[in-house]
């Protein structure tokens, strides 16, 4: 599998660390209602689709940037890659 890095071009996955469901970027804020439920869902109940999955990859053995990769978990085909800090703004 190769990931099309927005800055560095096509890189092999063994340069990356996989972190999981990209919704991990959306950490709940403390002192909300039902915060235990929210953190439980945030940490443990991640998406696990049979199809397109939006996920975080860290370019550890490269430029150490975080990427959001859209990938088909059935075929490993990668649809889209962006820098995670673009998403966070």
């Amino acid at each position: 599998m190769y990931i099309e890095h927005p800055l560095l071009g096509s890189r092999s996955i063994d340069e990356f660390i996989y972190y999981g469901d990209a919704s991990l970027l959306k950490r709940p804020v403390f002192n909300q209602n039902k915060i235990l439920e929210k953190f439980h869902k945030y940490l443990y109940l991640r998406k696990n689709p049979n199809g397109i999955h939006s996920e975080l990859w860290f370019h550890l053995y490269g430029d150490r940037s975080w990427l959001i990769v859209e990938r088909d978990t059935k075929t490993h085909e990668i649809r889209n890659v962006i820098l995670a800090n673009k998403e966070l703004g």
């Binding site: 092999s12 999981g20 439980h40 443990y44 998406k47 696990n48 049979n50 978990t73 490993h76």
Partner: protein, 416 residues
């Protein structure tokens, strides 16, 4: 049909013409008391113990493909009970005991071979960790022995003992661990369950549940609607997909794990060996192929095939332990979809629908658990109460913080 020595002799003389089917392939009835979804090891074992131990007489296993083509037929066949935590060891030790008597209770040769599982260590720190693990095993009724380098040299003279980075310092041996012919486990349970009246229904995918007043009334399948009183879900890597029909999200990610087999060699590796400085384990099949594996690939996948980066990593680890592997050619590789739970331990529990039960989260270690998982899941389905060996394998543990994390990795499924 009964398998025995006399039958073997007669069939040998009779050109093998008189063998009957191992199990009958049937079409579903309209109604069952209990439907088990998934004809892998766990589903078939559950059905067998439902019939044999809990006297449930109207049980069906629904399998979307052919039985035995899921992870039960894809794993590297290692059985052991060398766990660390008290929530886990008694369960896996019970499983190992069931393996020891399995062939008799199933009347099927599953080639259970207690050839010993040896975990090598390479540093003082690892010696401490394995000593602790061994003690924990002994305290919980399993067997464990700490071996020094000379003892290991006698068993396996070909390790790279003086490797500058990963010198072999000793190992933890569980003599009762070993391997089992994985396909024969599926066939054996199907055979024995079928003999007790369980219907094994292949090519029958469960597409949806019909729920009324928080209770399941039946399931829609590719072979039509089947009503039932209870449902047990044992679909391993497909658990998230199946349970999403009930709007449930599970603390599980599906990952791919690969296995590798070399060309056939003369007997060289007598037991199961694991490398402590990387992730690598190896044994030799009865056909002579070296069967080995390592880490999961590490990303969500339902593809049942992995990537070359993992292959390279596994082979490098193998070469670090036994350089002679480099002379050997790789024959086959394949992958299976693992139900990686968030703490690395399984879930056998009730869910919010009263009469549906869940068996999932086996990670890459569910083969060895097959008999105990089937037994305890059958107990839960039949009596509605958790068996004491699985009382900690709850779904709620992620909410209340009583997770069972052998490795202490936290909620990172690809590190368990």
């Amino acid at each position: 049909m009964n398998y025995n020595f006399l039958k073997l002799l007669i069939e040998g003389l009779n050109n093998n013409k008189g063998w009957l089917k191992t199990w009958e392939n049937v079409n579903p009835k309209k109604h069952y008391d209990i439907i088990v979804i998934g004809g892998g090891g766990h589903g078939l074992a559950t059905a067998f113990y439902l019939a044999s131990e809990y006297k449930e007489m109207n049980v069906a296993v629904l399998e979307r493909g052919d039985i035995g083509l899921g992870n039960v037929g894809r794993n590297t066949t290692i059985i052991r009970s060398n766990y660390l935590l008290k929530e886990n060891i008694p369960f896996y030790e019970f499983s190992l005991k069931l393996w020891e008597g399995l062939e008799k209770s199933l009347n099927y040769n599953a080639m259970v071979s207690q050839r010993g599982v040896l975990n090598i260590f390479h540093s003082d720190y690892q010696r401490d960790a394995y000593t602790r693990r061994g003690n924990s095993m002994i305290l919980n009724g399993a067997d464990a022995e700490l071996l020094n380098v000379d003892e290991i040299k006698r068993m396996y003279p070909f390790f790279d003992y003086d490797n500058a980075r990963f010198p072999v310092k000793g190992g933890l041996l569980q003599r009762r661990g070993g391997t089992v012919r994985h396909d024969a486990v599926a066939w054996g349970y199907a055979h024995a369950a079928n003999k007790l009246g369980v219907d094994i229904i292949q090519n029958c995918e469960v597409i949806n549940f019909r729920i009324k007043k928080n209770k399941v009334e039946g399931v829609d399948t590719s072979k039509g609607y089947i009503s039932c009183k209870k449902v047990g879900c044992a679909v391993a890597g497909s658990s998230s997909i199946l349970l999403s029909k009930l709007n449930m999200q599970l603390p599980i990610e599906s990952h791919v794990l690969q296995a590798f087999v070399s060309e056939s060699l003369k007997p060289v590796i007598s037991g199961v060996v694991t490398f402590g400085a990387g992730h690598f384990y190896i044994s030799q099949s009865n056909k002579g192929g070296l069967v080995f594996g390592g880490d999961i690939d590490g990303y969500n996948s339902y593809a049942q095939r992995g990537n070359l980066a993992t292959l390279e990593d596994v082979c490098e680890s193998g070469m670090a332990l036994m350089p002679m592997l480099g002379n050997c050619r790789l024959l086959r590789t394949w992958g299976g979809t693992m139900d990686m739970s968030m703490d690395g331990s399984p879930i056998i529990d009730k869910i919010h629908i009263k009469n549906i039960f869940l068996n999932a989260g086996w990670c890459y270690g569910g083969f060895k658990a097959t008999p105990a998982s089937g037994w305890c899941f059958a107990h839960l389905i039949s009596t509605g109460k958790p068996h004491k060996l699985i009382s900690d394998f709850t779904l709620n543990r992620f909410y209340d913080g009583s997770i069972i994390d052998e490795k202490g990795q936290g909620a990172q499924p690809n590190l368990h």
